[in-house]
C-alpha cells in the first residue's frame, strides 16, 4: 500500500519533525550563517550527540512507564572512570587503549543502569526516588574520583582520541553517524522486536502486560540497562571533545533528555515510544539555543524565549492532534 493515506496520517508522530523544520526556517532568517553545513551539521548536530543518544535510552525507560533522573550524574561518573583508565594507561597508549576505554565506558554505563533497574524492580522503589538517589550517589562518586576538581588526560592522548568527536566519515561528523546508528538500532528494537512490544505494553498498562504473561520486572530492568548503555555510548563521544570532565559535566542532562523525549512525542506517562521523534526533539532543543546565541535577543531573556518556544511547539503539536 504505497499510496499516501491522509486519514491515517500520523500527525502526532510527524509533529516533532514539522516543528524542527519550522525552527530551521526561522533560524535561516536570524543569521546568514545559520543554514550552513559548518553550523548546522559540524557544530550543532555534533554537539547534540550526547543528549540525543541519552534521550534515545530515556525513550525506552519512559515508554515502559519509568523515569531516570540519574543520567547526568551517570554520564559524569562514566566519564570519570573512563578518563582515569586512560590516564593510568597514558605512557604507551594507542588506538587499542582507546578502544578498551570505549568498551569500559559502555560497560560502566550498563552497570549503572542495571543498578537503577534492580533498585526499582527488586527493591520496589518508585523510579523518581530511586534515580534521584543514584543521581546524588553517582555525582558524589565522580567528585571523589576527581578529588573535587577535574580529570584530564594528556594533550597527546587527547589528540589520538579527538577524531571521534571532530572527525568525519563520508563527509558527515562521526557523532552524527553514531546518533543515526543508535537510533536505527533502537527503533528496530522498540518497533520490531517482541521486547519492544513488551516495553510499550508495560508502559501503557502493567496489568495487561502481566496477564499476557510478560515479566514486567525483566522488561523494566532492561529498559534501565539500555538507558545506561546509551549513556556509556554518549560518553565515548563526550570525552574526546575536551579530554576532561569536571563537576559541571552532565549537569541538567537528565532534564534536557526528558524534554527531548517529550518534545519528540513520547508520553511522560508511558505507553508509546518514538525514537526518531526523540532525536528530532534533541535537535530541536539544541537548535533553539544555537538560534538564540546567533540572534540579538537580550542575554537575560534567552531563557524566557527558550521556554516559550518549547511551550508553543507543544501547544501546536497538541492542537494538530485534536484536528
Amino acid at each position: 500500500m504505497p499510496t499516501f493515506d491522509f486519514k491515517n496520517f500520523d500527525v502526532r508522530g510527524a509533529a516533532p519533525f514539522i516543528a524542527l523544520v519550522a525552527l530551521i526556517i526561522l533560524g535561516s532568517f536570524v543569521h546568514p550563517n545559520f543554514l550552513t553545513f559548518d553550523n548546522l551539521i559540524q557544530n550543532v548536530a555534533t554537539r547534540t550527540s550526547f543528549i540525543a543518544i541519552i534521550a534515545i535510552g530515556a525513550t525506552f525507560v519512559m515508554a515502559a512507564g519509568g523515569l531516570d533522573l540519574s543520567v547526568g550524574s551517570m554520564a559524569a561518573f562514566t566519564a570519570g572512570v573512563m578518563l582515569l583508565f586512560l590516564k593510568s594507561q597514558e605512557v604507551d597508549a594507542g588506538i587499542g587503549t582507546i578502544a578498551l576505554a570505549i568498551g569500559l565506558a559502555i560497560v560502566v554505563g550498563g552497570l549503572c543502569g542495571l543498578a537503577n533497574g534492580l533498585i526499582i524492580t527488586v527493591g520496589k522503589i518508585e523510579p523518581f526516588i530511586a534515580t534521584l538517589g543514584t543521581m546524588v550517589i553517582l555525582r558524589s562518586l565522580f567528585t571523589y574520583l576527581a578529588n573535587g576538581g577535574s580529570i584530564s588526560i594528556s594533550p597527546a592522548l587527547k589528540d589520538i582520541y579527538a577524531p571521534v568527536y571532530k572527525g568525519t566519515l563520508l563527509g558527515l561528523p562521526i557523532p552524527l553517524l553514531v546518533i543515526l546508528a543508535v537510533a536505527a538500532l533502537c527503533a528496530l528494537i522498540l518497533y520490531r522486536t517482541p521486547f519492544g512490544r513488551h516495553v510499550v505494553a508495560v508502559g501503557s498498562n502493567e496489568d495487561v502486560a502481566r496477564y499476557s504473561g510478560i515479566s514486567t520486572n525483566r522488561i523494566k530492568l532492561w529498559s534501565y540497562i539500555i538507558q545506561g548503555l546509551c549513556v556509556g555510548v554518549a560518553i565515548t563521544l563526550y570525552v574526546p571533545r575536551l579530554g576532561s570532565a569536571n563537576s559541571a559535566t552532565g549537569l541538567y542532562w537528565e532534564l534536557q533528555a526528558i524534554t527531548a523525549v517529550v518534545v519528540g512525542g513520547t508520553l511522560l506517562r508511558g505507553g508509546a515510544g518514538r525514537i526518531w521523534g526523540t532525536v528530532a526533539g534533541a535537535f530541536f532543543l539544541e537548535i533553539i539555543g544555537n538560534i538564540l546565541t546567533l540572534s540579538n535577543v537580550n542575554v537575560y531573556l534567552i531563557g524566557a524565549v527558550q521556554g516559550a518556544i518549547i511551550i508553543i511547539a507543544m501547544l501546536v503539536q497538541r492542537s494538530l492532534r485534536r484536528a
Partner: protein, 507 residues
C-alpha cells in the same frame, strides 16, 4: 431560560421527537421519537451500536442532537451540558465507573457539592447521609472506605447513590447490573421500584432481557439507529425481544452441551489457598468438560484461579494431566497450556490505546518472529484468522482496541488467549457488557472448545449463563467451595442457596 421553568414543574413527561444524530458523515440515529413517562420503568434494548448510548447521551445533556426536539413537561428544552440536564432533574447513571479512586465513598458522593459547616467540610453529615443512601441500595460499603478498595459491584452502587443524591425526576440507568451479583441486583430493583412509587421516571438500558421482562412497564427496541417500536412489556417474551433486536429469529441462546469426551482429568487442584481470599479449595476439571464457578462477588473465584495460575501468591497442589506442577509466573502457566481470560478486559485484558494486531499477539509475540524481528505479515494474517473465527467486527484494521464495542473487545481478548493454543481455558465473566448477538457467539465458541476436547472453566455471576453452558457447577462462598451442582440439580435455587449459605440453615 427554559431550564429554569422546568425546575418548578413537577409533573409531565420527557420526550424526544425526530431525533437524528450524525457523526462524521454517519447517521447513528434516524428520526427516533419516544416518550418517557413519570412513574414508569421504560426499558431500551438493542444490540451494541443500535444507538442506545447516543440516545441516552442526548437525554442526559452529553450530546446535542443534529436534528430533533427535546421536550420536558410540554416545554421545549435544550441541554447544553450534563449539568443543565441534572438541573432539570434528569440524571444518567453511567456504565463505566467514573469515581475518584483515592477519595472515600462519601467524598465521591458529595464531590463538587460538599456539605459545609462554616468554611469546613461537614464530614459527619456527609458520612451519615452516605450511610443512609448506601443502605437503601443494599450496599455494605462504609462511607469512609476508599473507592479503590471497593469491589467493582460496590463502586457501581456508589455511583448510583451519587446520581440519586440530587433532585431527580428521570433516572437513566445504563446497564447497571452488568457488574452486579443477583443479590445486589435485587437491591437495585427495589430502589427502582421505589423510584417508580415516588413517580420518578426510570429509563433502563440492559442486555439482560429477563430483567427487562421483570422490571419494566414498557420496552422500546432500537436496531441500526432506528426505532423498531415501543411495546408493553407484558406483550413480549424475552425471546421475542431478542428477535426484534437482531431482526431475525434467534434460535436457542445456548448451544447444546457437548457430551464429555472421556474421563481424563486435565487439571486437578488440591487444598489450594490464597491468603485472605481462598482456603483449601480442591476440585478437578476433565478434558471436554465445561465446569462452572458460581458465587457472590468477593467469594474468591477470580482469586482462586489467579493464585493457581501464578498471577498472585497462593499455595496448594496443582496437577496438570496427572503431573505435579507449580506456576510461579503467569508465563509458566501459559507454557503449560493453561489460558486465563480475565474478567476485566479493559483494565487487564487489552491495551486500549494499541492497535488490534499488537493486542492480538501480545501474549504470544515470540511466536510471530522471523529472526529477532516481529513478522508483520504473519501478524496481519493472524488478525484475518481472528476476524473470521471470532466474527470480530472492526471499522478499520488499524483502529485501536479501545474503539471496538464491548462484544468485539471480548472476542479479541478470546482470540488473543487462544493463540497460546491452550488445552485448559479459564474464562472469567465472558459476557459482561456484551450484547446478545455476541453473547450467543461466545457461548457457541465455549461449547466448541469443549467439543474439541479442551477443559473449560467458566466463572460467571450470571446464573442462566452457567446453567445453560456448564456440565457441572461449583459454588464458592467466603473463599471456600461450598458445594457442587450437577445434572438435574442445576437450578438457580440450588446455586443461590449454596452461594448465600442458606442451605445449611434449611438443613
Amino acid at each position: 431560560m427554559a431550564a429554569d421553568q422546568i425546575q418548578h414543574t413537577h409533573s409531565g413527561s420527557l420526550s424526544v421527537q425526530n431525533a437524528r444524530m450524525d457523526f462524521a458523515g454517519n447517521t447513528v440515529l434516524h428520526d427516533v421519537s419516544l416518550e418517557f413517562r413519570r412513574g414508569e420503568v421504560h426499558a431500551i434494548i438493542g444490540e451494541n451500536g443500535a444507538g442506545k448510548s447516543t440516545l441516552m447521551k442526548i437525554l442526559g445533556g452529553y450530546l446535542s442532537a443534529t436534528q430533533g426536539q427535546l421536550n420536558l413537561a410540554n416545554a421545549d428544552v435544550q441541554f447544553s451540558s450534563p449539568k443543565a440536564a441534572e438541573h432539570a432533574g434528569i440524571v444518567l447513571v453511567h456504565q463505566e465507573i467514573l469515581l475518584a479512586p483515592h477519595l472515600t465513598v462519601a467524598q465521591n458522593i458529595f464531590l463538587g457539592r460538599e456539605l459545609r459547616r462554616g468554611l469546613l467540610a461537614d464530614d459527619r453529615a456527609m458520612n451519615a447521609q452516605t450511610t443512609a443512601a448506601l443502605e437503601d441500595l443494599g450496599c455494605k460499603a462504609n462511607p469512609t472506605d476508599r473507592v479503590e478498595n471497593l469491589s467493582i459491584a460496590n463502586r457501581q452502587l456508589v455511583q448510583i447513590a451519587r446520581a440519586l443524591s440530587g433532585e431527580h425526576h428521570f433516572v437513566i440507568f445504563d446497564e447497571p447490573t452488568a457488574t452486579l451479583t443477583p443479590v445486589e441486583s435485587e437491591a437495585l430493583f427495589k430502589v427502582i421500584a421505589r423510584l417508580k412509587e415516588q413517580s420518578c421516571g426510570v429509563i433502563y438500558i440492559s442486555h439482560k432481557l429477563d430483567e427487562v421482562k421483570r422490571i419494566s412497564d414498557r420496552v422500546s427496541i432500537l436496531r441500526d439507529g432506528k426505532l423498531v417500536g415501543t411495546y408493553t412489556t407484558d406483550d413480549l417474551t424475552p425471546m421475542q425481544m431478542a428477535t426484534l433486536m437482531v431482526g431475525r429469529e434467534m434460535g436457542e441462546l445456548y448451544p447444546p452441551k457437548p457430551s464429555p469426551h472421556n474421563t481424563t482429568t486435565a487439571l486437578q487442584i488440591e487444598n489450594f489457598s490464597v491468603a485472605g481470599f481462598v482456603h483449601h479449595a480442591s476440585f478437578s476439571v476433565m478434558q471436554g468438560e465445561i465446569l462452572g464457578f458460581a458465587g457472590l462477588i468477593g467469594a474468591g473465584r477470580t482469586e482462586l484461579f489467579e493464585g493457581i495460575l501464578g498471577l498472585r501468591a497462593g499455595h496448594g497442589r496443582v496437577l496438570k494431566n496427572g503431573a505435579v506442577v507449580e506456576f510461579k509466573t503467569p508465563r509458566q502457566a501459559m507454557d503449560a497450556g493453561i489460558a486465563y481470560v480475565t474478567e476485566d478486559r479493559k483494565g487487564k485484558g487489552l491495551l486500549l490505546a494499541s492497535p488490534l494486531t499488537n493486542n492480538l499477539t501480545l501474549a504470544t509475540a515470540e511466536k510471530f518472529t522471523s529472526g529477532f524481528l516481529m513478522d508483520r505479515g504473519r501478524e496481519e494474517k493472524a488478525l484475518d484468522e481472528a476476524f473470521n473465527e471470532f466474527d470480530i467486527r472492526a471499522k478499520s484494521r488499524k483502529m485501536d482496541a479501545g474503539q471496538l464495542s464491548g462484544g468485539n473487545q471480548q472476542k479479541l481478548l478470546l482470540a488473543k488467549m487462544m493463540l497460546l493454543n491452550p488445552d485448559v481455558v479459564v474464562v472469567d465473566e465472558p459476557t459482561r457488557g456484551v450484547d446478545i448477538g455476541a453473547k450467543k457467539q461466545i457461548y457457541e465458541f465455549i461449547a466448541g472448545l469443549a467439543k474439541a476436547g479442551k477443559a473449560v472453566v467458566v466463572i460467571s455471576s450470571e446464573m442462566p449463563e452457567l446453567i445453560g453452558l456448564c456440565h457441572r457447577i461449583l459454588v464458592m462462598r467466603n473463599g471456600a467451595i461450598a458445594g457442587e451442582v450437577t445434572g438435574s440439580n442445576i437450578t438457580e435455587n440450588q446455586i443461590v442457596m449454596l452461594a448465600t449459605g442458606t442451605q445449611k440453615e434449611a438443613a
